[in-house]
């Protein structure tokens, strides 16, 4: 069982090392967390992409990628996501482990040095700002990315439901921002965002692999010595517990199939220890192919191809998603609510409960066989007091009782219904 060692290398910057020798690759991720806010969200969102396109030493996409290819197809990729009310800006570096290469080449050390070059020594012009052409490219890319969210109707509908449901919370902000906020980006605002992130964001660096990590830690330490670390943002996600009024919104697009997304409040988010009970309840409801939603909405009524639910433990919300024919929306909605009521009334067998737990436990065990999933597993726990290994989470799942599940179900309340409907029959 791999264990995690976490050291603070300077204020608000932690380095975690997970020794693991079963993979053919090694991984280093660099994540910056900053509270979501409308004004800065787009400028922060372009930073991971901007930094992974060039640096002072390799000033173009072409030169940088030649270098990565030389490192046996190493990759450095940007991502932007949300963890609770925080925007998570991550750069992940991934490369082949020396043990499997034709020549010993200190692959991970070379890659880690390159990663530091990208983050701390970007390609700047004479005025010390980012080049206009780089900024223009990033602006176009982010605008296109925001627009293309609409291409995948499932993702789009899910995003809309969250946006409406959490309109008065930070979590309701799209992690890329809006087309308008992206259009207002400039070389100056983006430079300030980069500086601000290095100085004020909460930073988690993680390494998973077989190699020696001292050289790598020292390189990051050295780089942060030149940065004046300021105040750490307070790590607090707003958890809304009560719903005053159910919001329903319908939008129409020229599609053949309707998407239905229902957002619920669960009253339960981390660090509440009842989170495990909600996890099990959610899986029983719509998280497995034997779940109540799958068996009833899909299999019994044949209303849809998918009907599933997902629980976000950092924010304490559940989203139930389905795609149905327009005339079946009401039927599907009614059946979904019926299934929740069923759990509240305890209408599920002990076998069903045990099977759901078995399914969840096995999926949690499997995380340790995937280097990227393992990275994500710990990143999602950034703001948790104690970091749990998958094995500890498994124990908590085991301890969830029938009453815990019923109580978790009794606490959930419908907040928002979003329907994306077709304009043609």
């Amino acid at each position: 069982m791999p264990s995690i060692t976490r050291t603070e290398i300077c204020k608000g910057v932690n380095f975690s090392y997970i020794p693991e020798n079963k993979f053919k690759n090694e991984l280093i991720s660099f994540s910056m967390f900053i509270p979501l806010d409308k004004k800065h969200v787009s400028q922060n969102a372009v930073i991971p992409s901007l930094l992974t396109h060039s640096c002072k030493k390799y000033p173009s996409i072409k030169l940088l990628n030649q270098k990565l290819e030389e490192l046996y197809g190493a990759s450095i990729s940007p991502s932007v996501s949300k963890v609770g009310d925080f925007q998570a800006l991550t750069i992940t570096a991934f490369c082949a482990d020396d043990r499997f290469l034709p020549y010993k080449s200190a692959n991970i050390n070379n890659l880690s040095n390159l990663l530091c070059e990208l983050i701390f020594s970007p390609n700047l012009n004479k005025e010390g700002l980012f080049f206009d052409e780089d900024i223009e490219r990033e602006k176009t890319q982010i605008i296109e990315e925001i627009k293309s969210e609409k291409n995948d109707k499932k993702v789009y509908a899910r995003g809309k439901c969250v946006e409406i449901m959490c309109k008065n919370e930070k979590y309701g902000i799209n992690s890329l921002g809006t087309i308008e906020s992206a259009k207002n980006l400039s070389s100056k605002t983006i430079f300030d965002a980069w500086k601000n992130l290095l100085e004020n964001a909460h930073v988690e660096i993680m390494m998973i692999g077989n190699g020696e990590n001292n050289l790598i830690i020292n390189e990051f330490k050295k780089r942060f010595q030149n940065i004046k670390r300021g105040k750490n943002p307070p790590f607090k996600t707003e958890i809304i517990k009560k719903v005053n009024e159910i919001t329903q919104k319908q939008e129409s697009m020229d599609v053949t199939q309707c998407k239905l997304v229902m957002g619920f409040r669960t009253e339960t988010a981390k660090p509440d220890e009842k989170v495990s009970a909600v996890k099990v309840m959610n899986a029983l409801l719509g998280g497995t192919p034997q779940s109540k939603l799958f068996l009833n909405v899909r299999e019994k009524l044949s209303l849809c191809y998918y009907c599933s639910s997902r629980y976000n433990a950092n924010k304490g919300i559940i989203l139930i998603e389905s795609a149905v024919e327009p005339q079946n929306i009401e039927k599907a909605k009614k059946e979904i609510l019926e299934q929740i009521k069923d759990i509240q009334l305890g209408n599920f067998s002990d076998t069903q409960l045990e099977e759901t737990k078995l399914y969840l436990k096995q999926n949690t065990k499997k995380i340790q066989d995937d280097i990227e999933l393992m990275g994500t597993w710990y990143l999602l726990q950034t703001f948790d007091e104690t970091k749990k290994a998958p094995s500890e989470a498994i124990k908590e799942i085991e301890n969830v009782s029938r009453e815990d599940v019923i109580n978790a179900a009794l606490k959930i309340s419908l907040d928002t219904i979003y329907i994306l409907s077709g304009s043609k029959e």
Binding site: K62, G73, K150, N151, Q362
Partner: protein, 428 residues
């Protein structure tokens, strides 16, 4: 039982192969220290196999489009109940998929592997197709078909295949249409099942921290013998030329998407070799990787949405096409740039330095495949059904020689046999 051991010096790993007396090909790839175990069983029966006959039959049978996929959905049901329900007892995650050239059933788990393997073998050997069951599935599959018809990336690919191929059934949607599936009956399903799900036409791959001899024993105990069946698959003649140069469709979406495909000459029913695959990967990397001139111009001219740019080698019995795809504000321009750089490569050849870099890149990429039980098992099934061996790829790549690359390039990426498919927003 006398399994054969196949070793990779590069990966420092091995797997075991056995042909079971029933005809089933079995592969077991032990993966030490992994919690996950994965098993997949598949048949060379995909959406393209819409006309076939048994060896002793006189005439070919045509089946409705989407039958292979429909059969995949229905095989989960048996007299004893739904296979998902049986898997829920063991906690395994089960799934299945149908592609152009094959159908596969799989599960992954951490515990109770033996029991789950028994369930998998049991249900793929126990067809139970009833009038009522087949009818019930129609609603679900119709919803699945409609979901894909709203999906721009699926639409743009299908339209491309329709433009590239004149007769080959790879141009037909895997799931068929709402109309075609309404013609599928229990009899259709039984007929296909008896032909393609005969054990001599199937292959099982297991990956995980397992004792290979024990796996062979479980399999042996759970196979039902039936005489081998030989199926003859019919494929129409496919000319070298493409069908249409360009297709455009408008959908309710925000950003245009394109696919540009280059059709290759493949003999009827044949597959490309491992060596072809290796040189394919080297050529594509040399011409279109992020360090290439093609990519540089696509980005600088803002004709592509960076994250969306990708390529695929769509390859199966009797067809192979190289496809570049992406989201673009100016799809036509993007396609022109892609073609321009391909023409240049044909004219000037790939230089040694670029070749060496591409080789290192491909090496790292293929190592990563061997990290996960699911990626290994799926690769193994894919290769086994196509008559290829998985370790051969890395070996061939290691020995790939610069002197051969340009000869391979000469056979690929023929501009005259290329087609473009574009999907655009309605309001543009």
């Amino acid at each position: 039982m006398n399994p054969k051991k196949i070793t990779s010096e590069i990966l420092k790993e091995n797997y075991f192969y056995m042909k079971h007396p029933s005809g089933l090909d079995i592969y077991v790839y032990p993966k030490k220290d992994y919690n996950s175990k994965y098993a997949i069983i598949g048949s060379n029966f995909g959406s393209i196999n819409n006309k076939f006959k048994l060896k002793n039959e006189l005439s070919y049978t045509n089946i409705p489009d989407g039958t292979a996929h429909y059969l995949e959905h229905k095989l989960f049901e048996s007299k004893k109940g739904d296979a998902f329900e049986l898997f829920s007892k063991t906690g395994a995650s089960a799934n299945a998929y149908t592609s152009f050239e094959k159908t596969a059933y799989l599960f992954s788990c951490a515990d109770n592997f033996d029991k789950s393997l028994e369930i998998l073998l049991e249900f793929v050997q126990s067809p139970y197709f009833t009038e009522q069951g087949v009818l019930k599935e129609r609603g679900i599959i119709s919803q699945e078909i409609k979901m894909y018809s709203d999906s721009p990336d699926w639409k743009v690919l299908l339209n491309l295949l329709d433009a590239l191929y004149k007769n080959h059934p790879v141009k037909i949607d895997i799931a068929g249409s709402v109309e075609s599936i309404s013609k599928i009956t229990p009899e259709t399903l039984y007929e296909c099942y008896n032909a393609f799900y005969n054990l001599s036409n199937m292959c099982l791959c297991v990956v995980g921290d397992v004792d290979y001899m024990k796996v062979f024993e479980i399999v042996d105990k759970n196979l039902k013998f039936s005489p081998a069946v030989e199926v003859e698959r019919f494929f129409p003649d496919e000319p070298h030329e493409i069908s249409k140069k360009e297709v455009t469709e408008r959908l309710d979406m925000e950003t245009s998407m394109f696919n540009i495909g280059f059709k290759e000459n493949i003999s009827k029913g044949e597959r490309v070799s491992v060596k072809d695959l290796v040189y394919h990967d080297l050529i594509i990397s040399a011409i279109s990787s992020k360090s290439s001139n093609m990519y540089d111009e696509l980005i600088k001219s803002q004709s592509i949405n960076e994250v969306s740019f990708s390529n695929e080698y769509l390859e199966g019995p009797g067809y192979a096409s190289v496809i570049f795809s992406g989201e673009s504000q100016n799809p036509k321009k993007a396609c022109e740039i892609i073609k321009k750089h391909i023409e240049k490569a044909h004219k000037n050849g790939i230089d040694k330095k670029t070749f060496e870099r591409a080789k290192k890149y491909a090496y790292g990429q293929s190592l990563a495949v061997f990290n996960g039980v699911s990626s290994i098992a799926n690769l193994q099934l894919d290769f086994a059904l196509a008559g290829k061996e998985i370790f051969e790829y890395l070996e061939t790549l290691k020995n790939a020689d610069f002197s051969e690359i340009n000869a391979h390039l000469g056979k690929k990426l023929n501009i005259d046999n290329s087609a473009v498919s574009i999907v655009k927003p309605k309001n543009e």
